[in-house]
Amino acid sequence: MGNTLRDDATQNNSTLLGADELVVNMGPQHPSTHGVLRVKLKLDGERVRGAECVIGYLHRGVEKIAEHRTYQQFAPYVDRMDYVAAVSNGLGYCEAVEKLLNAEAPPRARVIRTILTELQRIASHLVWLGTHALDIGALTPLFYCFREREEILKIFEKYCGARLTTHAFRIGGLQYEAYDGFEKDVERFCKDFERRIQDYVDLLTGNSIWIGRTRNVGVLSAAECIALGASGPLLRASGVKWDLRKAQPYAAYDQYQFEIPVGANGDTYDRYMVRMEEMRQSRLICLQAIERIPEGPILGKVGKVLKPAAGEIYHSIEAPKGILGYYIVSDGTTQPYRVRIRPPSFVNLQALDKMVRGHLVADVVAIIGTLDIVLGEVDR
């Protein structure tokens, strides 16, 4: 609670009994706002009347920097946006530029990219589950989730030397060949992960307090989701079966069978179930992928100096948080004229005010957790 008593008192006469419209600040330094987000809550006693998000504390001007970097130089910046799911940011950007160059990554590179992106999706969902459960009070899931995530980060480290901001992909394919034993590691992780998911399910899914805290909290109907532009697990939990991996397949997703989990009434509990199911599906994709990684080159015929023809493209992928879009305008030089990024967290955050109304203060924390926002991506 970053605010001080003075500005809180001046805004309204908040004697406890006659507490009418009370504006209270949450953040920017707050344990459960997942980064530097300030939420101004309009409270009537205990009920929340509205929430206004104040963002920009983590704005680094990534899009402006892009205009003064070549396409390859900008790639590492992309990882710093959604630092929890850096690999899928990289995939989105590389595929967008390849589309601009209308080049194509070789099949081997596409399959390895798919495996790493799915592993990153599991890792990102694990971070979400750990912090979301911690905000609602369950202390233990956090450590179980981070124990599994550690395995994934080990695989990334073996593959490209970095754990968090990996910069694993290059425009046109991959930089590093899959180290020998890559398939074995991924397979061992997937085999082990199935038993681990059961740990979380035992701890939370059937837990009546967990259901009490999440059922009917932060409800978003399908129409409201679409109107707000919410995407990813938020959209699917409200019953809309829309996943870019199936709708507009990219990388090597069209080669694998996996279901898209869909929720019923769009509350926090459904979003929890959708994300848990997504983790299981990602695990299946990885298992199918490592059975047959095609041989061949890992880098397409894309020259050292990339000078794409003047023009513009928009390419979007299904990041763990939602639809991550890249709109790149090139003016024929080696540096993009404009790179506009459509981050899922920023758009999903707009739904906060709508979901919070009529709930108690304690639910605001659960709702921010279920939005699964990362401020690096919101502020760019």
């Binding site: 004697t15 406890l16 009994l17 006693g45």
Partner: protein
């Protein structure tokens, strides 16, 4: 010897904290002082071998009513620095009245002993160890000879609860 030590100690604490309570400017301070006065009277009950009342006093008075008082003081957000004048001309009148009353009662107490036949027939009270177990005795008489007042006071409490809740409830409907 031990009895009188205990009695004077508790009596002193009770009177002192009561006097302080009445004169304190800060309402929470007077609430705490009242709590000490009540605890001191509980001590006197103990000295009079009335253990059940000792514990009832602690649970009901200090644990219950004082919590209620402090709750209301906090809810009412009594501005602590309410520097209004505490006493007004009433103070002297009240003091005079109290002293007169005190003098009169002490006179009655002192004279009663000397007038033949009017004094209280006081034999020596039963010594401590031959007393029957207090709570059993209390319960036996509470639920036998005093059962009707017991039921009436339960109704009284019910009415008081309903009344207090209705009055203190935030009027969300007609506001």
């Amino acid at each position: 010897m031990l009895d009188s030590v205990i009695f004077y100690f508790f009596a002193g604490v009770a009177v002192l904290s009561a006097a302080l309570m009445v004169t304190r400017r800060n309402a929470v301070h007077s609430a705490v002082l009242l709590a000490t006065a009540l605890l001191a009277t509980a001590g006197i009950f103990l000295q009079l071998r009335a253990e059940f009342l000792f514990i009832a006093q602690i649970i009901l008075y200090v644990g219950g009513i004082m919590v209620l008082f402090i709750f209301v003081i906090m809810l009412v957000r009594l501005d602590v620095a309410l520097h209004q004048i505490r006493f007004r001309f009433q103070k002297w009148v009240a003091l005079a009245v109290a002293l007169a009353l005190g003098g009169e009662i002490t006179a009655v107490l002192l004279l009663a002993r000397r007038l033949p036949g009017q004094g209280l027939l006081i034999q020596a009270p039963a010594s401590a160890d031959k007393l029957p177990p207090n709570s059993e005795e209390l319960a036996r008489s509470l639920f036998s000879s005093y059962l009707l007042p017991f039921e009436i006071s339960s109704v009284l409490l019910l009415v008081a609860m309903v009344g207090a809740v209705v009055m203190a409830k935030k009027r969300t409907d007609d506001q």
